[in-house]
Structure formats: C-alpha cells, structure tokens
C-alpha cells in the first residue's frame, strides 16, 4: 500500500470535494472524508488493486459532542486487506442537522446489521439500506442511547413495567398469611 503522503495526493485528486485529511496514530492511518462521499471511497478502496481492502471488519460511530472533530458524528469503518494483512480506518463525518450517509451494503453484506446498530445507538441514517430499523433497543425506544447527551442511567425506561404480585398465598414466613 502507498505511504501516507502519496496516499494523500492520490485521494485528494480522486475525491476533491469529499477528502478532508489523513491522520496517523500508532501506525494506523485514518482517512477522513465527508459522509456523502464515503461509498465512492469505500468502493475505490475495495476494487482498486493498489488498495484491495477486501474485508470490512467493522462499522461503528463516535459522537464528537464533547470532543473536537470535523462534525458532530463520525462513522468509522475498519477495513482489512487480507492478502497483505494491512488495516486502514475510514472516518466519514456527518453533521448533526442531517446525519445521513450512503450505506455500504452494496459492497459488503456485513454492513446490514452493523449499520442498523449505528442507527439505533446514534441515530445516524443510512440511505439505500435494505431494512433500517432498531436492532438493540425495543421499537418504542425514543432516544439514541450512545449519544453523549443521553445519560448513562437513562430517562426512566427501565422503571416502567407491569408489576406482578403473587396470585395465591404467600410463601415467606415474614409476610402476612404464613405462620
């Protein structure tokens, strides 16, 4: 694979509008790109023989509400080239007002559930996803819990259920009706 500065030149030429920058931390390159261009970038990384990242290892997201970033949310793709055992990270940045970006489902089927998970936990929408609905939380859940403005203990979702009492008798000696 190309080194960092050459990769920057190639990608800047190929994606003049979408490309933001490439950063490096502990030997791992991260390509930053604007959300709407991510599918084109992923397709290039998958099909171009210079990159040949044939395996999508994971999709997740980070909410940058309390941390510096290019926008509020970044959707993170971990790609793997299995021939050379090389990895790269793609970060697609989406704004809070319209958290929407194209789905990677046409390239890798594993994107299906992982994008549903990102949608459920962060509220980032994926266009052209075959079946975008909540996966972890129940359908009636109102919030997106992994956003930074949602409290750890929740907003009372866990306290509101039907209470069942013993229907006949009582089994503990301390309770009424047992000698």
């Amino acid at each position: 694979m190309l080194p960092k500065d050459q990769l920057t030149i190639v990608l800047r030429e190929k994606f003049p509008e979408g490309f933001i920058e490439i950063t490096e931390f502990r030997d791992m390159l991260t390509i930053h790109i604007r959300g709407e261009h991510v599918l084109k970038l992923l397709r290039t990384l998958k099909t171009d023989p210079r990159f040949a990242f044939n395996f999508l290892s994971g999709i997740t997201a980070v909410d940058h509400l309390e941390m510096e970033g290019h926008a509020r949310f970044s959707v993170v793709y971990h790609l793997l080239n299995q021939h050379e055992a090389r990895r790269i990270v793609v970060r697609a940045w989406v704004h809070e007002e319209e958290p929407r970006l194209p789905s990677a489902y046409p390239l890798w089927k594993t994107a299906d559930w992982q994008e549903r998970e990102v949608y459920d936990l962060f509220g980032v929408e994926f266009t052209d996803h075959p079946d975008l609905m909540r996966i972890m939380n129940p359908d009636y859940f109102e919030y997106h819990p992994l956003r930074k403005d949602y409290p750890l203990q929740g907003r009372g979702e866990r306290d509101n259920f039907k209470v069942v009492k013993r229907s006949i008798g009582s089994k503990w000696p301390s309770e009424k009706g047992f000698e």
Binding site: M28, F55, G58, A85, V89, K109, W113, N137
Partner: protein, 399 residues
C-alpha cells in the same frame, strides 16, 4: 378411478423461535417462514440482552472496564480481557514483559479449548446427544479449577491489567496445567469417537447451512466459521499479537463451510491449542509480569502500600478519581483471534482517564448476521444445528 398427480398446495406458515427456547442459547428470537418443512425465510431478532456495555465503558476507567469485559463473553472471558488490555496498551504505547505475554497466550488458548468444548457439547445437546456435553464439561471443570487457582474466579476472571496481569502464575498451578494438557487428548478422543463418524451426527450436519468463501468474506465471517469455508486467515498467524509469532502451530482450514466442517475445524483447533499451551509452558520466560512500577500504570505491591508512604501515594495516584494515567488523544484497535473470530476493542481517547468511546468488534453479532443466508432452503430442524454451530453468545451479540 384414477389418481391425478397433483401438487399438494400448501400455505406458508410463520413460526416463532424464542426468545426463551432451549436451542437459542440464551436470548435469541428467530421468526421463520415455512413452506411445509422448508424454510423460505428466517428473520432473527436480537437485542434481548442489550445492556449498554459501550455506554458503561465511557464511564469507567481503563482498569475498571476489564471486569466488565468478562461479562460480555462468558464462555471465554479471558480472551476478552486480553483483547481489551491490548487495545488500551496500544493506546498508551506500553509494551508488556515477555512473561506476561506468554501467560496471556496460555490463558487464551485454554479459554479456546473451554469454549470449543462447550460449543460442541451444546450443539450436540441441541441435536439430541447429551453425553458429549457431560464429557466436555468434565474437562471444562478442570480448566475452571485452573482459572480459579490463577485468577481467583471460575468464570469472571478479570485477569489482565493495563500494563500486565493481575498477578503471576502461582507456583502450584504449573503441574495443574501439565495435568490438564495430559488429560485433554483422552477427552478429545472420546468426543471424536462419539461424533466424528457417527451416522446421525453426519446426517444432521453434513451439507447443512453451507456458505461459500466469497459470501463468508462479504458477511464478515471470521474465526472457525470463515476457516470452515476455506478462508485462510488466522489473526494469530497473519497479524500476531502478544508473541504468537513465537509458537509453531497449524491453521485448520475446511472446504465446504457447512456445520460439519465447522465442527471439524473446532475439534482440530483444540489439538493445536494444546500444542501452543505446551510450547508456552516449556519456554515460559522468567521475570516480572508487569511493566516497570515507576511507570505509574500499575498498582504497587500490597506490602509496599501498607508499609511505606511512597507506596501509598503511588497507590492513590493510580486509583483516585482525579488522578490515574491518561492516554494521549487518539484511537486504537487491536484485532485478536477469539474462539469465535476477530475480537477487538476500538478505543477512542480524548485525553482523560476514561475512554471517550469503547466499541467491541463482536464476532457473534457479525457471524449471526449470516444466519438468514445459511438458513435458505434448509429444513426447520436444521435451524437448531446451524444456530449451535454459530456459537452465538448473547452477551457479546447484544452488548
């Protein structure tokens, strides 16, 4: 009177498995659409065990979260401990001593044996053979005993710390490890004798739920499932971590990607794990199991804390709320080969003592997402066999 050959018209039927069903290993729900006995569509519903692990990770510091990783994959908790510690260490740029790396390898491989024993046992129970489970569990109890000796707990081990291990292998555990490794072949042969050439087992598993090489890659399958489909990728060999490059072992590759091949891959992997364990024990280097105590990543030894003011201050510096070590702003992801496949923690740090974001790459979730594909054109009774072969662990699936 003539009988007309007329296709029997059937209506499609929708059947609901779970979420509380003996074959669903915890809390899975599958809605299957049937045409007679043929499955035309299977839709899994998950999230019944979603506990907010990742949210919790943002509120616990690096060493506290190790205890929570146990609860994520409760069949092989040590692999999760190690995966988290590796990511945190990469973020902090620490290199742990060789002895700690070797002990981690030993523990991971024993966990792999324990995991595969339970997986094969439970799959056999689902298909109708109870004996394998009992035979496998007999050895698993021995492994539990060893874990208890080393970590103090049978299941929730919490053995790793950022920068090393909770403690060294106790002296008396070394003969126990050898004893365990000596007993393993007998158990494996027993299971082998019960299942590998068993007519019923073959009929129930061969050709069931096949998945091709390319589809395995597209669905992101890793671990025994991918290797059964012929994907030659083992992270221990291709991207070695924790000194795996020092050991000599083979990667088991299947051909057909069906349930039987997955079983065979797992069976032979246990033999390979046993080989690795022996190599670790024979070449175990001496020295400390933690990074240098002056680096402020690890707690000082107990007597020092109780008997000297420096030790006490050191202890406070690591554990107190507004102290502790802080990584630089950045992110790290170290993939490891857990018994189910690629497991790694993606940690984003904003420079404070708690991670900003922790994400697990859950092999169970990603492997399970290929379940609808595997169920195509299978019988309803095969659902149980396929589900068993995926070894879906609900804690890791839903997090």
């Amino acid at each position: 009177m003539t009988l007309e050959a007329k296709a029997l018209s059937t209506e499609k039927m929708v059947l609901n498995f779970g979420p509380s069903h003996p074959a669903t290993h915890g809390t899975l729900r599958v809605i299957v659409e049937l045409d007679g006995e043929l499955v035309t569509k299977a839709v899994p519903e998950i999230g019944f065990l979603h506990c907010g692990f990742e949210k919790l990770g943002e509120h616990l510091d690096f060493n506290q979260f190790v205890t929570v990783t146990d609860r994520m994959n409760y069949i092989s908790p040590l692999c999760n401990n190690v995966a988290y510690a590796l990511s945190a260490e990469k973020l902090l740029d620490i290199k742990v001593p060789k002895r700690a790396q070797y002990i981690r390898v030993l523990m991971c491989e024993l966990s792999r044996i324990a995991d595969h024993l339970v997986q094969i046992g439970m799959q056999a129970v689902d298909i109708g053979a109870f004996t394998v489970f009992l035979y496998g569990f007999r050895l698993r109890e021995k492994i539990y005993d060893l874990f208890e000796m080393v970590c103090g707990a049978r299941l929730t081990t919490s053995y790793t710390r950022v920068g090393g291990l909770m403690r060294d292998l106790p002296e008396n555990s070394i003969p126990v490890v050898y004893d365990l490794l000596d007993r393993l072949p007998a158990t494996l042969k027993e299971i082998d004798g019960l299942l590998t050439h068993n007519r019923i087992w073959l009929d129930r598993t061969r050709g069931i739920g096949p998945i091709s090489h390319d589809e395995a890659l597209s669905y992101g399958l890793t671990g025994p499932l991918a290797r059964a489909a012929g994907v030659d990728y083992d992270l221990r060999v291709k991207e070695p971590y924790s000194s795996y490059e020092d050991f000599d072992f083979d990667v088991i590759i299947g051909q057909n990607g069906d349930v039987y091949d997955r079983y065979i891959v797992r069976m032979y992997e246990m033999w390979e794990s046993q080989k690795i364990c022996r190599q670790v024990m024979d070449n175990l280097p001496g020295g400390p199991v933690n990074v240098d105590a002056d680096s402020k990543y690890i707690l000082p030894p107990r007597p020092e804390v109780f008997n000297s003011i420096e030790g006490l201050i050191h202890h406070f510096m690591v554990t107190m709320e507004n102290r502790g070590f802080t990584p630089p702003v950045g992110e790290a992801y170290v993939p490891t080969e857990s018994p189910n496949g690629e497991l790694g923690y993606f940690i984003v740090s904003d420079g404070s003592r708690e991670p900003y974001r922790v994400r697990t790459r859950p092999p169970s979730l990603i492997n399970y997402s290929a379940f609808p594909r595997m169920m195509e054109n299978m019988m309803v009774s095969d659902a149980v066999a396929i589900l068993g072969s995926l070894n879906v662990i609900a804690g890791e699936l839903d997090r």
